[in-house]
């Protein structure tokens, strides 16, 4: 029996060390992430960033997204639902973080559609048709182009606008800001400048609700 108790004791010690080390490490990382976000608060939102909801709202969700990211597409209706649960209280700001190959071209289509006032429709179209234009984690802009018919866009104008250097500049700026804010995965959320440390819808919901409470 002595051997068995040695084994069990050793196992418990090792597992507790692992658990404590994980907790300490995560706590430290969370503190760092919060500090980093605070330090770089000025680059969280750019004047050109697309926004949805009440611009005067006291709670702002900043979302770094990639049109080719499946989780971003799954989160989009959840974020909208969260906004409709608290009407007028949330402002959503989108930032581009096209991590998949060719995803930046999809972003430039969004920006071009924005000039025709159809940014959000195009974004939603991209999310709902992801299966049709993503192959092996690579965006196929020519396939996405075929999905745009229903939106009633001026396609010729879209084609010209998406080539504009201003669009490329915005994407570059967003990528740079993401790096500075230490966002490496999409979707990356900030609520009133606080980064969502542990990823998940419930976590995002809690963070948003606590911010709403804090401002009331």
């Amino acid at each position: 029996m002595k051997k068995l108790s040695i084994i069990i004791t050793a196992l418990l010690v090792l597992l507790s060390v692992f658990a404590v080390a994980s907790y300490v490490y995560k706590q430290e990382k969370a503190d760092q992430a919060g500090e980093n976000a605070q330090k770089n608060a000025s680059v969280l939102v750019r004047d050109y960033s697309p926004t949805l909801g009440n611009k005067e709202a006291k709670v702002t969700i900043v979302e770094f997204f990639d049109p080719a990211c499946g989780t971003c597409s799954a989160f989009y209706p959840l974020v909208k639902q969260l906004m409709s649960e608290h009407p007028g209280k949330i402002n959503l700001v989108l930032r581009y973080l096209p991590l998949h190959p060719n995803s930046d071209v999809i972003v430039s289509i969004f920006e071009a559609a924005r000039l025709q006032g159809k940014f959000w429709q195009t974004l939603e179209r991209a999310y709902t048709t992801q299966q049709a234009w993503i192959e092996h984690h690579t965006a196929r802009p020519e396939q996405f182009w075929l999905q745009l018919g229903v939106l009633g866009l001026d396609m010729e104008r879209l084609n010209t606008d998406m080539q504009s250097p201003e669009v490329a500049r915005r994407v570059q700026q967003d990528l740079q800001d993401a790096q500075q804010l230490n966002v490496r995965k999409t979707p990356g959320f900030f609520v009133n400048g606080k980064p969502l440390i542990e990823f998940g819808y419930q976590q995002l919901r809690q963070l948003v609700q606590s911010e709403i409470k804090a401002t009331e």
């Binding site: 051997k3 040695i6 084994i7 050793a10 196992l11 090792l14 692992f18 080390a21 994980s22 490490y25």
Partner: protein, 150 residues
């Protein structure tokens, strides 16, 4: 306790069960350590890391089963795993220290095996820890084998 440390350690090594217990400790620490690097710190394991994990993780279970109740044939099962894992660890070491050209190494573009993600105290790398763990397990198993045969 304080009479003779040599005698003490000799007595320790004489105990065959303890040898396997230490092997198990090393394998478990290596397993939890690698999980800490990937799951807690978020360092993505490269292909070669995965092969080393494949041969280290089962050792935890193999040694555990051999300890309770004691199974003297554990060498037969644990040794091949440890040797193969050791080979991958050495290969990995050669890749990242530049002895094997990068073009020959089988890693995908996402996570390069030649890139050093972590250096503890400035020189201890993850593949080095892997070589050390495998080497220690192999040596202890050889001692165990000699003792069980004699």
């Amino acid at each position: 306790m304080s009479d003779s440390p040599n005698k003490q350690s000799a007595a320790l090594l004489n105990n065959q069960w303890l040898l396997i217990f230490i092997c198990w400790l090393i394998a478990t620490i290596a397993t939890l350590g690698s999980l800490f690097f990937s799951e807690v710190m978020g360092l993505k394991p490269c292909v070669l890391c995965w092969y080393q994990r494949i041969f280290m993780y089962p050792l935890v279970i193999v040694f555990l089963s051999a300890m309770w109740p004691t199974d003297r044939t554990v060498f037969r099962y644990a040794f091949p795993l440890a040797i193969i894992g050791w080979c991958f660890a050495v290969y990995h070491y050669l890749v990242y220290s530049g002895y094997i050209p990068e073009s020959l190494q089988p890693c995908s573009e996402d996570v390069s095996c030649a890139k050093i993600d972590l250096e503890l105290l400035g020189f201890i790398t993850i593949p080095m820890l892997s070589i050390l763990s495998y080497t220690a397990i192999i040596l202890l198993l050889i001692i165990y084998r000699k003792k069980t045969l004699s």
